[in-house]
């Protein structure tokens, strides 16, 4: 009743092809974005911002990148952690070498560096497919981590072996470094991921995205009709690594403040992959939903016993958390294998009919 399209007529091709053709969608999404920019900095406390929202945004950007590669282009990749590390270390080197450079520009440049690296490691995808490719991307993961561990130039010869985000400001507001408030960092991360999502959404709706999906679904047939597999796959790797690189730089500069290579190891690659699969392969919204799931559910599980007044020993609590988390994943997949995004789509379809049954 509320979500009806009746009465909304399109008179131009452009309006017909809009990302949100239904007016209610546009209003709600617009309000949501504004609320996301305004509400948490004003209302949320330090814990929410620092431990929940900022990581959620950072991971969402990384999940977006991996979704482009795995969900849309069908190239399974387990090297996300490595590419994020490239972005982080590149950003560190750039900003320490050119302190006057705007940090947002530094992030984008480090994304470009990560994209270049991604292109190199994407070359095997031309010969190898499926799980074999995933394992091949692990070579990228382990090699890059080893490289950052081994070569002290990357950490500017620091004895500690870690990279630390130096104080940097944008428009006079500190966004990185120890004095940056979590509100400032939150808004920066949100802005970056919003722009990233808009760009990604348009990419996948256009020719590039369609060529990716063609390669994913039937790559030989795609090649026959003229989609060039080399360029398409490499483009996917490149753009995906760009996103992951920026996310990696955000991880260090906006979320953690400092990092050693252990922060980018294989478990991060798997974490981002879980987000993409749970959120929904091949869906922009799915990246956000998956990131939300992975970030919020463990926190919920950690705090739930307190909410009902149960005090468990920490070890038992963590173990039950793991079990419930694993069980939830399996439950999810049985109920909706296409992920949270599909659930959301079904909800919207039901809403269009509501309150009528059919």
């Amino acid at each position: 009743m509320i979500y009806r399209e009746a009465g909304q007529f399109k008179t131009t091709y452009a309006s017909d092809q809009a990302v949100f053709p239904i007016a209610q969608d546009r209003v709600v999404v617009g309000l949501a974005v504004v609320a996301a920019f305004v509400a948490p900095p004003l209302l949320a406390d330090e814990y929410w911002l620092q431990a929940v929202l900022i990581p959620l945004l950072v991971y969402a950007l990384a999940a977006l990148g991996l979704n482009l590669l795995t969900g849309y282009a069908g190239q399974l990749s387990l090297g996300t952690g490595g590419f994020m590390a490239v972005g982080a270390y590149a950003a560190f080197k750039l900003t320490t070498a050119f302190p006057q450079l705007n940090i947002i520009l530094v992030f984008l440049l480090s994304g470009v560096v990560a994209a270049a690296v991604g292109l190199v490691f994407g070359v095997p995808s031309l010969r190898i497919k499926g799980f074999y490719l995933a394992v091949a991307t692990l070579a990228a993961q382990f090699f890059l981590i080893w490289l950052f561990n081994k070569v002290p130039w990357f950490v500017n010869y620091a004895a500690s072996g870690t990279i630390t985000a130096p104080p940097r400001s944008v428009f006079g507001v500190m966004v990185a470094g120890p004095t940056a408030t979590s509100q400032a960092r939150y808004v920066t991360a949100l802005a970056l991921v919003a722009v990233g999502a808009i760009v990604a959404k348009n990419l996948v709706r256009g020719r590039v995205g369609r060529s990716w999906m063609a390669i994913r679904d039937r790559d030989i047939a795609a090649e026959i009709i003229g989609v060039r597999p080399l360029r398409t796959k490499l483009l996917a790797f490149g753009i995906s690594s760009f996103y992951c690189g920026v996310a990696g730089a955000e991880l260090v500069f906006l979320y953690l403040g400092s990092a050693e290579t252990l922060a980018f190891d294989i478990s991060l690659s798997f974490l981002v992959l879980f987000m993409v699969i749970i959120g929904g392969l091949g869906s922009i919204l799915g990246s956000f939903l998956g990131a939300a799931f992975i970030v919020l559910v463990p926190i919920f599980l950690t705090n739930a016993p307190h909410l009902v007044g149960l005090v468990l020993p920490v070890a038992l609590q963590k173990e039950m958390e793991l079990m419930v988390f694993g069980g939830l994943i399996i439950f999810f997949l049985i109920v909706e294998p296409n992920g949270l995004a599909r659930l959301w789509q079904i909800t919207k379809e039901k809403l269009r009919l509501w309150p009528f049954p059919h």
């Binding site: 620092q50 620091a158 120890p178 050693e260 922060a263």
Partner: protein, 440 residues
């Protein structure tokens, strides 16, 4: 279909209710100390005894003395699984309870918390680990790493080896191998060892073992080929167990194999069985339960059924004792602060002063029931390390026993490096150097 609705409902609930826990603040006559522990995950064998030691000592203080000068200690454990991100989450969640100090027990988490410490006014006590450069209190007023650091440890171990060989001059031409975990933690000792190798003329070989270190055959084959006189190890987690096993398998003389203070715990030698006999380790407190403080813990904690989660028999392992020492030092620092600010629940600033002016003397250690267990420590504004000496312990198949007296580190080598590193690290964070003279 219904399950889908259930799922959506659950998700909405999780989204909203997740971090909604409102923590209750500690009462006025209590002080809150968060305990970042790892009782599960890959590092649990090391994390469990440390956590137990902590909890037991604080329980002892509450039960035997009614707290620290009458102020009860309240703590909450938070599981980090040694993961930096979980550590950050724990810290942020427990910050609302007004903690006065935090023991991160992980180098990665320590690095995260160092910048926040001065902003949140919480002392970061990274005892014997963390950022070695922070031992210079002029740059890092809120970070303390006494009684000693990795660089001091490396120099002290070389001094011990020198003692065993009949003098530091006898080290010329000897072969020493450093097997280390391929991470910033593992590499800590390398620069000090390289400097000493140049100064004293021994042949140093550095062998990195990649995380996690489950498979070390190639490393130990190389060790066998080098046939060193001494092997020093900076390991962590499963790397320790495998290393000890492999060393025994290649027939290394175990009494010439010294692990650092994170590589010499019961959990590291038990899997190797008899092969581990003779393995040595560095430490900065004694192992075992032959001290009055342990008897008190049995009497006031275990006999009353308030043990921290471990069994009485697990008391006395090196890492359990480490937890006890850590808790004791925290308590003594708070007590020191109380001499200036009064016997009440203190703020972070006040506790910081206490840490910086801690003077733990031999008579006081005796009072605490720790005679021979710990070395006296004096912390100053410039020196947050305490320049503490180490001990060497040896595994005889059943327990660790001390085989050396207190060995001083080579301050003249280590301190200049710490000061240089502190300037570099401090500038990176945008700090300015304090003038200790002005603050007296």
């Amino acid at each position: 279909m219904r399950s889908r609705t259930v799922l959506i409902g659950m998700l909405a609930a999780a989204l909203v209710a997740g971090p909604l826990l409102a923590a209750a603040a500690a009462q006025p006559k209590e002080m809150f100390i968060p305990l970042l522990v790892y009782r599960t995950g890959a590092y649990a064998p090391s994390g469990i005894p440390i956590a137990n030691g902590f909890v037991d000592y604080f329980t002892l203080l509450n039960e035997r003395d009614g707290g620290i000068n009458g102020v009860r200690v309240v703590w909450e454990e938070c599981e980090t699984q040694y993961d930096t991100k979980q550590g950050v989450e724990c810290y942020e969640r427990l910050k609302s309870k007004n903690p006065v100090l935090v023991n991160p027990y992980s180098t990665g988490i320590t690095y995260q918390l160092i910048p926040k410490a001065s902003v949140d006014k919480v002392v970061v006590f990274s005892m014997g680990y963390g950022n070695t450069a922070a031992a210079d209190g002029r740059w890092f007023p809120w970070v303390f790493s006494f009684p000693t650091t990795y660089w001091s440890q490396a120099s002290a171990v070389i001094r011990y080896i020198g003692q065993q060989e009949g003098g530091l001059d006898k080290l010329k031409g000897k072969k020493i191998v450093h097997v280390f975990h391929n991470s910033p933690y593992g590499k800590e000792a390398n620069t000090t060892l390289e400097t000493l190798a140049r100064q004293l003329g021994f042949e140093l070989t550095l062998l990195a073992v990649d995380h996690p270190g489950q498979e070390q055959k190639s490393t130990w084959l190389q060790v066998r080929r080098i046939n060193p006189d001494w092997v020093f190890m900076s390991g962590w987690g499963v790397m320790n167990q495998v290393a000890v096993k492999e060393a025994a398998a290649i027939g290394l003389k175990m009494d010439h194999f010294i692990g650092n203070w994170w590589s010499a715990n019961d959990s590291d030698v038990v899997p190797a069985g008899d092969g581990a006999k003779g393995y040595k380790g560095a430490t900065f407190h004694a192992p075992g339960t032959a001290f009055k403080v342990h008897q008190d813990i049995v009497k006031f904690v275990y006999d009353k059924g308030k043990g921290g989660g471990g069994k009485k028999e697990d008391m006395g392992t090196p890492l359990y004792n480490r937890g006890v020492v850590n808790a004791m030092l925290s308590a003594e620092a708070i007590r020191t602060a109380m001499t200036k600010y009064g016997n009440k629940a203190l703020t972070g600033e006040q506790v910081r002063w206490g840490f910086e002016n801690l003077n733990l003397t031999e008579p006081r250690l005796d009072q605490l029931g720790m005679k021979g267990f710990m070395h006296p420590i004096k912390v100053t504004c410039e020196d947050h390390e305490g320049n503490g000496p180490i001990l060497v312990q040896q595994w005889d198949g059943k327990r660790w026993t001390l085989v050396s007296d207190w060995i001083a580190p080579m301050r003249e080598v280590v301190r200049p490096k710490i000061e240089a590193a502190a300037i570099e690290e401090g500038k990176k964070l945008g700090y300015t150097e304090r003038d200790c003279a002005k603050e007296k």
